[in-house]
């Protein structure tokens, strides 16, 4: 057992921290108010290698590993969660194309994702009627009747992060509607493909510097080369991507929670009531101690999941545990931070109200807390049980 980060991991975290402090911090609050999309910031992330942290060097990635990715995500989210969510999805799309794509798909798309040429990647799985239950999706992809190969996609997708900006969108659709979850396939759809349109931007509580849109597919034609993996492998691909994505969201939650804790500590030391700083009161100290303890536990969970993924070991359960616990801990951290700030915490004068709004969705997206519990329980009680007993896990 060794909790030491490598020099490279420390340097990656340092680069992300320096960039977040120098470039993102000055405008984070302004982006939250205006809803301006961080296009220039995403290009800069691409230049630094932060859009393909765990993607092979040959495909334009940094090949720095999953732990480095988690650390970088924590640092970016600590300053601007909106930027971090676009970064998370782009990394996830880069990884999923790397893992499941053909050589040509990899060569065509991955370097454009990692460099920032595509601005961002998007992940179009959810639908209005199919959120936690993706197998209930209604979007279809049928063989193109007008040419020998290719597909026609029809349907609607919901809650698509960066869906209006992303150069590449992974779209899930049923190629065999009768086959349920086994009839789902994944497609790589370029921005601007005719037949795909963007709906009205969601007015979200938080993450206001990121865009979230519905996508409508009406006779959207794609070539056979758009199919990712094989027909019917879509759900498997989605679940694999989401496992990794959950490490990203756990890390993001940690970043926001850490920012809330730091803000609360700074305020508690400086705010004087009853003739002494808030931090001199044990009630405040205990709350800060609890938040710090929970965030430390969340960090260990997230890094363990990242470590297992990096070593090529199963990590589904660990990623779900990390995502569940970190997002809930971040919510409690933000709540404590607002409470410690008193009335000021409820205003836009202080960043903790933004942290609280940004943190709320972390218990919802990339699988709700309830879905995480399902995943954990399924893994716990299922076939994995015997193997775990042997491995002492």
């Amino acid at each position: 057992m060794d909790f030491t980060l490598t020099d490279e991991q420390k340097l990656v975290a340092q680069t992300a921290r320096d960039f977040a402090t120098r470039v993102l911090a000055p405008k984070a609050a302004a982006r939250d108010r205006s809803g301006e999309f961080p296009e220039a910031e995403l290009h800069a992330l691409g230049d630094l290698g932060l859009l393909g942290v765990n993607v092979p060097e040959a495909l334009g990635g940094a090949e720095a590993g999953v732990i480095a990715y988690s650390l970088a995500m924590q640092e970016i989210a600590r300053v601007d969660a909106s930027v971090s969510v676009a970064m998370a999805v782009t990394n996830m799309v880069g990884e999923v194309v790397t893992r499941f794509g053909s050589d040509e798909q990899k060569r065509t798309h991955v370097p454009r994702l990692t460099s920032g040429e595509y601005v961002a990647g998007a992940f179009a799985l959810s639908e209005p009627q199919a959120g936690s239950d993706p197998a209930a999706m209604l979007t279809t992809a049928r063989r193109d009747p007008e040419r020998s190969d290719g597909y026609v996609i029809d349907g609607a997708k919901q809650w698509i992060t960066s869906g209006d900006r992303a150069g590449l969108i992974v779209v899930w659709a049923k190629t065999d509607p009768k086959a349920g979850g086994k009839g789902i396939s994944a497609f790589l759809v370029r921005r601007g493909t005719p037949g795909m349109t963007t709906g009205r931007h969601e007015e979200k509580m938080g993450l206001r510097g990121s865009t979230t849109v519905p996508l409508v597919f009406d006779g959207c034609r794609v070539g056979a080369d758009a199919l990712l993996g094989k027909e019917g492998e879509g759900l498997k691909i989605a679940l694999a991507a989401l496992d990794g994505g959950r490490i990203g969201i756990a890390s993001q939650a940690l970043g926001v929670g850490t920012a809330a804790l730091e803000a609360a500590m700074a305020y508690a030391k400086q705010r004087v009531q009853f003739g002494r700083p808030l931090a001199a009161n044990q009630a405040i100290q205990f709350r800060l101690a609890d938040v710090a303890t929970e965030l430390s536990a969340a960090r260990l969970l997230a890094l363990r999941a990242a470590w297992r993924k990096e070593r090529g070991e199963p990590f589904t359960r660990e990623a779900s545990m990390a995502k569940l616990y970190a997002s809930e801990a971040a919510g409690r951290a933000c709540d404590a931070a607002v409470q410690i700030h008193g009335g000021y915490g409820y205003t836009r004068e202080f960043p903790v109200e933004r942290f609280m709004r940004d943190a709320r969705v972390q218990r919802i997206y990339e699988g709700t807390s309830e879905v995480q519990r399902i995943v954990i329980a399924r893994d716990l009680l299922g076939a994995a049980q015997q193997r775990d007993a042997q491995a002492g896990r």
Partner: protein
């Protein structure tokens, strides 16, 4: 152009200094590169690349430090920024002063034969501001200190160094090889002109970030290890530490009731009026 750059790690200036007995307590210290040395690395990189052609390298930057194995990590971040290779000279801070640093640097210069030595104008912990000047003296090379702007002239045979002085900007022409120490403004967007990068090119302010690719590539870059004995330097401290004392705690201030009272106190007690 081949450039040798020296780096020193220093305690994070943002961190509060702790004292233990008659010494500074470094046990909880977060070590960071001296900022002026980072500026020197940035300057060296700007001088040896064509930023108008995708930062194509055009020259060599060798970074060096003197310190423990842990202090040598300062070299990793310089390599990650883009320096080509590193030389780590084994030594401990308590056995170093500016004169020993200059002597070690002299030996490295004789071995490496760079066209230019770039150093920070001072280290922000000891604020000595001597090593560069001493090195130029030992080498008998021209020097320019506190550079705020550098232009390569005469087909790479000389530098125009702009120095900010009280009355304005002083410009010196320095034939190479030379020793140049850099000041804060050397990392302004257009402070360095190497004759290859378009003169209109504007860099981002400040030293560049280590990109993730740079960090991963740094692992494969060579770091040579040297000892004082191998370099033929016999360290003999010229600076002796006599005492280390924490500054006295600041006394509480007072509130005055009127301007008259303030003036009276400034005149009678503080005796500044």
């Amino acid at each position: 152009m081949k450039i040798l750059v020296s780096l020193k790690r220093i305690p994070d200036p943002e961190q509060k200094t702790r004292f233990k007995g008659n010494a500074i307590d470094f046990s909880g210290t977060n070590w960071v590169p001296n900022q002026f040395d980072e500026y020197a690395v940035e300057t060296a990189l700007r001088l040896t690349e064509n930023a108008s052609a995708g930062n194509a390298r055009d020259g060599e930057v060798v970074v060096t430090t003197i310190g423990t194995a842990d202090a040598g990590k300062v070299l990793s971040s310089a390599l990650a920024m883009g320096a080509d290779r590193a030389i780590h000279v084994d030594g401990a801070d308590e056995n170093l002063d500016a004169d020993i640093v200059a002597q070690v640097m002299k030996k490295l210069v004789e071995a490496e034969k760079p066209d230019l030595v770039l150093m920070g104008k001072l280290a922000a912990d000891s604020e000595g501001n001597q090593a560069g000047q001493l090195l130029a003296g030992y080498l008998n090379w021209p020097q320019a200190t506190f550079a705020a702007g550098i232009e390569v002239v005469d087909g790479g045979k000389a530098l125009l160094v702009h120095r900010e002085v009280d009355s304005g900007v002083e410009t010196k022409k320095v034939p190479l090889p030379a020793v140049v120490t850099v000041d804060l403004r050397i990392v302004a967007p257009q402070a360095v002109k190497n004759g290859k990068t378009a003169a209109t090119h504007a860099y981002a302010e400040g030293p560049r970030y280590a990109s993730l690719k740079g960090i991963m590539a740094a692992k494969k870059k060579p770091t040579a290890k040297k000892t004082f004995a191998e370099l033929g330097v016999t360290p003999a401290l010229r600076v002796k530490t006599v005492a280390v004392e924490a500054p006295p705690a600041r006394k509480a201030g007072i509130k005055v009731g009127s301007v008259e009272e303030l003036v009276a106190k400034l005149h009678n007690e503080a005796k500044v009026l």
